[in-house]
Amino acid sequence: MDATEIGLWGVPLAILGGAIRVSTPFIFVSLGEAITERSGRINLGLEGTLVFGAMTAYAVAVMTGSPWLGLTAAAFAGLCFGLFHGWICKFRGVNDIAIGIALMLFGSGLAFFFGKPFIQPSAPDLPAIPFGAWSDIPQVQAALDVNVLFLIGAALAVFLWWAFRNTRAGLILRVVGDSSDAARAMGLNPDTVRLIATGVGGALAGIGGAYLSLYYPGSWTEGISSGQGLMAVALVIFARWNPLGCFAAALLFGGAGALGPALQSVGVTQGYYLFYAAPYILTLIIMIATSSPSRSLAGAPGELSITK
């Protein structure tokens, strides 16, 4: 391997590389959750869906040798979890947050149970596109190895942003999310719309899980997610239910997460626990800066149980 010295350039490069590598699960889970929450439901179970998706993708990829089949299976598993959440929540008096927490534990537990035999074997990875091929610096090449899922996630964010405003489906979703009564007056069935929205959200979270186990870090272990699904749900509120905001927030978290290891690698070794807390401190600061006691959260769907 080429021993190119890049020294302090390693830090911005690691943040860039980290933003691209680490952010993808955040992007998918938060976009999925944005769709679900726009319909007026919260699905906290996406952490469980993420872990189950990671396990399913890995298991199917090991058994069939095809990461794409694994990805499809993960999306399908996520869809099932989402539809299950959506179906239960349609009954009267059911609290979507409580069901979400139950599904989070259920999804992780089920993934651990079925995932036992797959901790040891190695699965084929999803392919990456070498955008850094123009550079002869190996570090730059490595940082710019961009997985196709990241690109799909970016495109999806733009598409959803456009679709929420400009399509009939987007309009229906927003109406249901803002007022069930208005939706019913329009002849829409809010439960069906929410069922579909939660299902799609779950499928996207499953894809996020597939990225974790099939690309980065690229193996199935029970600690693979370490709470990323929950963080992504929080990102949606942070991003004010805006898909482009979700994408930006996911990048921010990915980059900030890479800061700690990168600083240590160039010799800034004091206080690394503080650097590791950087993403959370950043969130707190932005939340405080943008909050206001006199108005409700801008962009919050009116039917959301946390804002009602």
Partner: protein, 375 residues
């Protein structure tokens, strides 16, 4: 102490008798089996049993006991270092009749295992690590550990020969003495080959954080580091990420060579089967169990992975010579003159700490040549 132990054995027999009676009463156990299970040994793991790492090493040790007559093994994995582990220990004692328990993770000791020691004075507890102290802790507790730093020194020897950039990397979980000793040993092993070699350490802050470990490995390779090792619970992510970036790796805890056959140099592995057999033999023979158990390469507590295909002839020679010297016993990794990376004196000229030196179990420094900080 022996008297106390005899008492506890009597209690133990009473418990097993009760267990046998229960077995008869429920009529589901044949008599022979109930009597044959003279002792039940419990193992508690913090992660999955097949993690290519710390827990797998312990579970392989536990599995080696399964053939022993009269010994019944109960295991529980994924037990967090919280009050959960107390519940696990209680149920192993009350429901399974365990008379000897191995809580294998560092954080199980205080306050969880100590609380159980007080609650069940007749049950023996042995904790993996260096925490037990005869002045402070009960006699039905104890600790066992291996001098795996020696293995990391050997890793360092091979890494020193293999590295072209003369920069090594270490992904570490937390700055506790055992981890620091491993980092220092790895570097000193490499410096026995070339005294200009440095080792960059990155602490992730937790025993198992897959994404952060991958980021840390990438950051190390970005800095031109070409041999990486680690001390985290499951080295799988580090090994795969480093090999994926083209760096060589030295393993830890268990043999990870199937994950990266071309890039895997060697690895420092536990051989807990040996240690657990010792304890269980004592238990079966009715002898008191030792409270303080340590051993290294010479005692078979620690072993090395077979050398990989990328290891050069020179490296192999020095590896074999160093290993031979270590198995004779009395080998010192930390020997003077040696400074810490903050400039403090660690060992003066002529001063040497053998692997058995108890001072090493309270290590709080990184030696000169390690780039990193303990806080």
């Amino acid at each position: 102490m022996i008297d106390r132990f005899m008492l506890s054995r009597r209690q133990l027999l009473k418990t097993s008798a009760a267990g046998a009676a229960f077995g008869l009463a429920s009529a589901s156990f044949p008599i022979s089996r109930a009597l044959a299970a003279a002792a039940t040994v419990g193992f508690i793991y913090v992660g999955p049993k097949d993690d290519y790492g710390y827990n797998q090493a312990h579970a392989e040790g536990a599995a080696a006991l399964k053939g022993i007559d009269g010994i019944n093994i109960v295991e529980e994995e994924n037990v967090p270092e919280t009050v959960d582990v107390q519940k696990t220990m209680e149920s192993m004692i009350n429901l399974d009749g365990a008379s000897l328990i191995f809580p294998t993770s560092f954080g199980y000791f205080d306050p969880h295992m100590l609380a159980m020691c007080a609650k069940f004075p007749d049950v023996q507890f042995r904790h993996c690590g260096g925490m037990w102290n005869k002045d402070k802790h009960p006699m039905n507790a104890g600790s066992y550990f291996g001098y795996i730093g020696m293995g990391q020194y050997l890793n360092g020897v091979v890494a020193g020969h293999t590295s072209k950039t003369k920069k090594l990397g270490f992904v570490a979980a937390k700055p506790i003495p055992q981890v620091l000793l491993n980092i220092n040993s790895f570097l000193l092993g490499a410096r026995s080959v070339d005294p200009t070699i440095t080792c960059q350490v990155i602490f992730t802050g937790e025993w198992s954080l897959a994404v952060k470990e991958a980021e840390a490995t990438n950051a190390l390779v970005d800095q031109g580091i070409d041999v990486v090792t680690c001390h985290v619970d499951s080295p799988k992510v580090v090994v795969e990420t480093a090999a994926g970036r083209g760096a060589f790796v030295c393993g830890y805890h268990a043999n990870q060579s199937p994950l990266a056959p071309e890039k895997y140099l060697t690895g420092a592995e536990w051989n807990w089967a040996k240690v657990y057999k010792m304890f269980v033999d004592d238990l079966v023979a009715g002898k008191p169990l030792p409270n303080f158990t340590r051993g290294g390469l010479a005692d078979g507590f620690v072993k090395m992975s077979p050398l990989g295909p990328a290891v050069s002839e020179a490296a192999r020679k020095q590896f074999d010579a160093t290993l031979a010297e270590m198995t004779k016993g009395g080998f010192s990794v930390i020997k003077g003159p040696l400074k810490s990376n903050k400039g403090g004196v660690v060992a003066t000229e002529g001063q040497a700490f053998a692997e058995t030196a108890i001072e090493l179990e309270s290590m709080d420094y990184l030696v000169e040549g390690v780039v990193g900080s303990t806080a």
